[in-house]
């Protein structure tokens, strides 16, 4: 990522942000039924976590989560990973999130961020935006957008993280 920034020559500020974010900010969001949930409660007993920002109307987001869902059981047995899907649907669609998730038979933990508070706190520009966290809750990798096949790269990285290997 840095090569690109430097080559464009307009990201000096980005690069100077050498002390990048590595822990999750604590933000009050909602569960799918509207109850409160604080993002500081996100844990997976020392196993990796994938946090995916999505929306019901976002086709690539749904494609990504559907692609992961097809092999989610395998991913879990292999790496112990837990996928947390953060819906940024606003009041227009937030009531549809739970039926949507069930309609898709997704097994993820799903939370709703209807006014974008967690999205802003995580500096997410657009959805889909996916974060990979190691067992200590540090963000070790992130990716914006989804193209078919990206889930393979994510799986490889998750395997590395679950073994405690470093990601460049």
């Amino acid at each position: 990522m840095r090569n690109v920034c430097v080559s464009l020559g307009i990201f000096f500020l980005l690069v100077s942000g050498a002390i990048a974010q590595n822990n999750l900010p604590a933000v009050a969001i909602q569960d799918m039924k509207g109850g409160t949930f604080n993002t500081s409660q996100i844990t997976n007993n020392g196993k990796p976590i994938i946090i995916s920002f999505w929306a019901t109307w976002c086709k690539p987001c749904v494609a990504e989560l559907t692609a992961i869902a097809e092999n989610y059981e395998d991913w879990q047995t292999e790496t112990g990973v837990k996928v947390i899907a953060i819906s940024i649907d606003d009041a227009r669609n937030v009531a549809k999130v739970e039926p949507f998730v069930n309609g898709k038979s997704w097994e993820y933990e799903v939370y709703c961020d209807p006014n974008g508070d967690f999205k802003r706190a995580m500096s997410v520009n657009t959805v889909p935006h996916t974060f990979l966290l190691d067992g200590e809750g540090n963000i070790v990798w992130q990716h914006n957008s989804y193209n078919p096949g990206d889930e393979d790269e994510l799986l490889e990285l998750t395997k590395k993280v679950s073994k405690g290997e470093k990601i460049d």
């Binding site: 690109v4 799918m32 657009t126």
Partner: protein, 575 residues
């Protein structure tokens, strides 16, 4: 402005100092690592943020009626920075629209500066923010400050906010401030108070029984100075304006097992303003949703009734700026281009009745197929209120269940099917009715339009990491011979081809063709090509093409976006 900023800095510094010395704080002790020689490592906190740049180089194109841009080049850019140290955080956003905002964005954004800056800290259950912030009470019927960057919508509040959680399950929020108005503030002072009570947190026994019960209430009031506004019904009279306008709402959320429901009822006292024609009738808004969800099946039913509920921190404002609340649209949020952008619906904040039903299901495993079929069926309709004009400044009277003229109807079915490991497709059919003039504010003469939209979307992963996606769309509608000057008239076809090489590259070409426009000169091809590069959290796209003139609708307001022809460059990044 200077005073507020100074206060923010003082708060920021004093909090920083106290945070540095507060050793009992759990987060701090975790962050401050002890070094081997026993000295304490100083924690400098973390900085993160994101960056976005959209630039466009314009060509003249009179065929699509693109406005001439003498300076040829325009850009919108921003950089967010957030500093966090333990319980303290501060942030700012620099924005630049140089030399002017991109076509389609409000020209009043012209300039550059730091409109957004805040400092906040947490102390036990209390969180205080000074400066700018976003906020939503409940569904947003009485208060929602939010940002929709791609549409140029930003109505953050600049002032003070305190959130307090005395015990888990109860959240209280109080705020006071003024709203963003481009590079300054709106004239109205907003004061708001909100309570949310979650009984499942208060009484763990409920949680064990999988029963959720949430109750909430909000009060919001705005103050604006008096001014002389001539009575629209009698030019010799001056209106007696309410300087303080209050609104409140009550909410109930209930969930047991597979069922959930959520209802909110809001009320606003007399608020004569420009959008409602300075009438004194109080406003009301009702929103209801109920859903059923089990594995493989989800059903949502929603209803709403909005009456005279345009709520702004300036009684004379129209358009996007200074909206204080948010009336959700109750129709499917379409993403296929022809379904989403040719005839978009706009919320009628001054009166509408809407219904929606949405069903999602996945064919169960016993249906003998290797890959399940996913189906979404959606129906929505919106009618105007049935009103009786009173002839005075009260405005009108309505019947609670009186349905007026139909404004919008949308019935659609979408099927997603994976055929093999390599091939997937999506099919959609949609019937759409819209009264274009009444919905998009082009006048009071009805202009009903019926159309049928079909979409086929196939993707083929011919090699690992290499995918080709093809999209074909058609919109079939009658030609309206009385609207010969309209560049969105008659039938459309659209084709899209996209090639992606995971995880870094993609290329796509799209053509939208107004094949059925009764004016032959307007049977235009809008062709665009885009190449993109993704790496980590950075995304760069470069494109060339024609953008169709269209309408962007948000928060009850539709905005004309002019046509454009040119190169586009977009960079998004976060760190």
């Amino acid at each position: 402005m200077k005073k507020i900023f100074l206060a923010t800095i003082i708060v920021a510094f004093s909090t920083l100092l106290s945070a540095q010395t507060d050793k009992t704080d759990s987060t701090k002790t975790k962050l401050d690592k002890k070094l081997s020689d026993g000295t304490k490592e100083v924690n400098w906190g973390t900085i993160h943020g994101n960056f976005g740049l959209d630039a466009q180089y314009y060509f003249n194109d009179s065929l699509i009626a693109a406005p001439v841009v003498p300076e040829k080049f325009r850009m919108n850019g921003f950089l967010n920075l957030v500093y966090t140290n333990g319980n303290f955080s501060a942030g700012l956003r620099y924005e630049a629209y140089l030399p002017k905002p991109l076509l389609g964005f409000d020209a009043r954004y012209e300039g550059q500066g730091i409109p957004f800056r805040y400092a906040s800290y947490k102390l036990g259950g209390l969180e205080v923010t000074a400066g700018t912030f976003y906020e939503q009470f409940g569904n947003g019927l009485v208060l929602r400050a939010y940002e929709e960057r791609s549409l140029g919508f930003d109505n953050f509040i600049d002032g003070f906010r305190a959130k307090y959680t005395p015990i888990q399950g109860i959240t209280l929020t109080g705020l006071v401030g003024k709203q963003r108005f481009f590079w300054s503030w709106g004239p109205g002072l907003i004061k708001g108070f909100n309570t949310d009570i979650n009984f499942a947190d208060l009484f763990p026994k409920l949680g064990e029984k999988k029963i959720k019960l949430m109750v909430g209430g909000s009060f919001v009031s705005k103050y604006q100075d008096n001014e002389d506004i001539v009575n629209p019904l009698d030019p010799n009279q001056i209106l007696n304006l309410p300087l303080n306008v209050g609104a409140w709402s009550g909410r109930l959320g209930f969930g047991v097992g597979r069922f959930s429901m959520n209802a909110e009822l809001a009320y606003k006292i007399n608020d004569p303003n420009r959008t409602n024609g300075y009438i004194y009738k109080p406003g009301s808004a009702f929103y209801f949703s109920a859903s059923y969800a089990q594995k493989g099946l989800g059903i949502t039913v929603q209803a709403k009734r909005i009456e005279n509920f345009d709520f702004r921190s300036d009684r004379n404002m129209t358009g996007q700026p200074l909206l204080m609340n948010f009336i959700p649209m109750l129709n499917k949020q379409h993403t296929y281009a022809l379904a989403a952008t040719i005839y978009p619906y706009a919320v009628q904040t001054n009166g509408e009745l809407g219904l929606q039903a949405d069903i999602n299901f996945t064919t169960p495993k016993w249906v003998a197929k290797k890959y399940p079929t996913q189906v979404n069926i959606n129906f929505s309709m919106v009618n105007a209120l049935d009103t009786n004009i009173t002839g005075d400044l009260y405005g009108y009277r309505t019947d609670v269940f009186g349905f007026g003229r139909q404004l919008y109807m949308d019935a659609n079915i979408e099927i997603s099917q994976k055929v093999s490991k390599k091939v997937k497709f999506n099919l959609m059919y949609m019937y759409l009715f819209i009264d274009k003039n009444l919905v998009q504010g082009f006048g009071s003469t009805p202009r009903p339009i019926n159309s049928h939209i079909i979409v086929a979307d196939v993707s083929y992963k011919f090699l690992p990491k290499h995918t080709i996606r093809l999209e074909a769309q058609g919109l079939i509608t009658e030609q309206e011979m009385e609207h010969l000057d309209d560049r969105t008239n008659g039938s459309w076809v659209m084709g899209l081809a996209e090639y992606t090489f995971s995880p870094h590259f993609f290329v796509s070409v799209m053509d939208q063709w107004n094949v059925g426009n009764p004016t032959e000169d307007f049977q235009i091809h809008y062709i665009t090509g885009i190449v993109g590069y993704n790496n980590g959290s950075t995304r760069i796209t470069f494109g060339y093409g024609r953008q169709r003139a269209g309408i962007i609708c948000i928060g009850g307001v539709c905005r004309q976006v002019p046509a454009a022809n040119g190169f586009t460059l977009s960079i998004m990044s976060s760190f």
